[in-house]
Amino acid sequence: MNRNTVVWVVVFGLGAAGLAWRAAGTGMGSQYVRAIEVHAASKTGQQFTWTRYDDAFPKDRGQPDVALSTPRTLGVWVAALMTLGAFSFLFGDNPLFKLTQAIVIGTSAGFAVCVGFWSTVVPMLMGRLHPEFVRSWAAPGMPPDQQTEWIALVPLALCLMLLWRLAPWGGWISRWPLAFFIGLTAGLRLVTFFKADFVDQVANTILPLAVMADGRFDPWATLKNLAVLAAVLATLAYFLFSVEHAGAMGRAARLGICVLMITFGASFSLTVMGRISMLAARLQFLFDDWLWLIDPLNRRTGL
């Protein structure tokens, strides 16, 4: 065993011992639920009862209807370990990170399949082709006047053709739905991008070059509008590659580069800001929900 491995074994050992000690002493990571009896009657009058579990605060654990939730407590521990597994990439690629990655890719893809099936395939495809069946089984709330729409066979056929991509032969079959997809996107985007991102943006740049406020000339606002106009034109000049960037055009393009650099500098800062807030949220989960080191929401006051 080399020195590095020994160090890591010691670190992990101490960490695990510390966690075990803290978990035994404080119950950290424990999740509590409040059991709520749900009573419901069907349209035929038949009575149904089941129990729903709502989140409860650990400080309420002495109350009679509040109990420790094993699945949710286990979930917090799993989530914490998965978080640490993902963070382990900071020390380089390692088996723990690869395992975490494999689990998440698998579950995410599975999740997407379930969502696609229940949110769209059932109500929008099956529900149109066989409304009675879907109403009796998965969507009793479907409109009662929903009739069979045979036109829905077209998207069904397109879906099956798309899924044909998985077959070892006949790859050309999936080109039909792909062509539909691309054609529709092209038609849709042509108009909307032209309107919102070209016409409207040109309109947004047409600003008063001498701003009057309360009957008086406003030099700051005027200067600002002039700067905005100059910055847009200069940046566009930089992107105009069909004209040589020399003379006035070259100077405009140079100014455009400067505007772009400032834009990217601001974008960089905003990106950093976003990443830090995400990191803060993850650490808050570890410190609050799992380790019980902080309690910003006063969920454990008095424990």
Partner: protein
């Protein structure tokens, strides 16, 4: 002049510094005061100026990846709309978005128990189809939406029974972190239909949305800073929210945010000092 260890500093030391910069303020509960800026107040006023009972679309187009950044905004918007007694229509275009919407519904259930599902708010759920869903929702909502997230017919829900399309909304609110998100809601919803819209976005996406302000977008909240300012504006207007710990998530986050930003500035400055004063090595990130 510059010590060798600094020139070839192991990046794990920088990771450790970043970890400490974000974790210590959280552990010690450090926070700083915020004052709402004009741009945040533009968004605030767009909602605050709506009459009671106005219809508002709440599009939550984000997932856990950006939840840390956008959740405080989404919660603040929800609280504001509830205080104003607006009619809320929730939906998402992201397959991992429904739990984000659920968190807003949980806020309504716990802080505004008098609001009733179906008459005060409705969850239209997730629909795949990217901008196609937006396009159809503004043309005819019932083409893509037959039921709500819970499977109830839209014809049986008071808020949606008479609703033909999203053109009948008084305001569009979109909280998003990518595509489809606020940009698509502007392109396919607000711009072609000349509707009022405000958005809350991640820092990464904010520059993309800036050109739409103020004509296509009445206002824009960018990153956690704007969320914190919005929370402060909300507390200033509705002082009872000062007692709700959950309503100050963004404000709490500004503590670690400040320390980490200062660290970033120090890293940029010291990196350049090392580069210019100590020869030109250690360029690999």
């Amino acid at each position: 002049m510059i010590p060798g260890w600094l020139k070839n500093l192991d990046r794990r030391w920088i990771f450790l510094l970043m970890f400490l910069a974000v974790s210590l303020p959280q552990l010690f509960g450090v926070s700083f005061p915020e004052r709402p800026s004009r741009k945040v107040l533009d968004v605030f006023d767009a909602i605050d100026g709506l009459a009671e009972g106005s219809r508002v679309l709440m599009a939550f187009d984000f997932d856990p990846a950006s939840e840390g950044e956008l959740s405080p905004m989404a919660s603040a918007f929800t609280r504001h709309c509830c205080e104003k007694k607006l009619k809320l229509y929730f939906m998402t275009l992201w397959e991992r978005g429904p739990p984000m919407v659920q968190k807003a519904l949980d806020i309504i259930a716990s802080e505004h128990p008098s609001m009733t599902y179906g008459t005060d708010f409705v969850n239209l759920g997730f629909k795949p189809g990217l901008e196609g869903v937006i396009r159809n929702a503004f043309s005819n909502l019932h083409v893509d939406f037959k039921t709500d997230q819970a499977g109830n017919s839209l014809h049986d829900i008071a808020l949606t029974r008479e609703l033909k399309s999203l053109r009948e909304m008084d305001l569009l609110i979109c909280i998003g972190s990518g595509s489809p998100g606020p940009k698509e809601w502007v392109q396919y919803g607000a711009a072609p239909n000349a509707m009022r819209m405000v958005a809350g976005v991640t820092g990464v996406q904010a520059p993309q949305l800036l050109p739409y302000v103020p004509r296509q977008l009445v206002g824009l909240l960018a990153a956690i800073k704007s969320a914190a300012e919005y929370e402060q504006a909300l507390i200033d207007r509705y002082p009872q929210l000062a007692r709700v710990d959950q309503a100050k998530e963004g404000l709490r986050r500004m503590g670690p945010q400040l320390v980490a930003h200062v660290l970033m500035v120090l890293l940029i400055v010291s990196g350049n000092l090392v580069y210019f004063l100590g020869g030109q090595s250690g360029d690999a990130p």
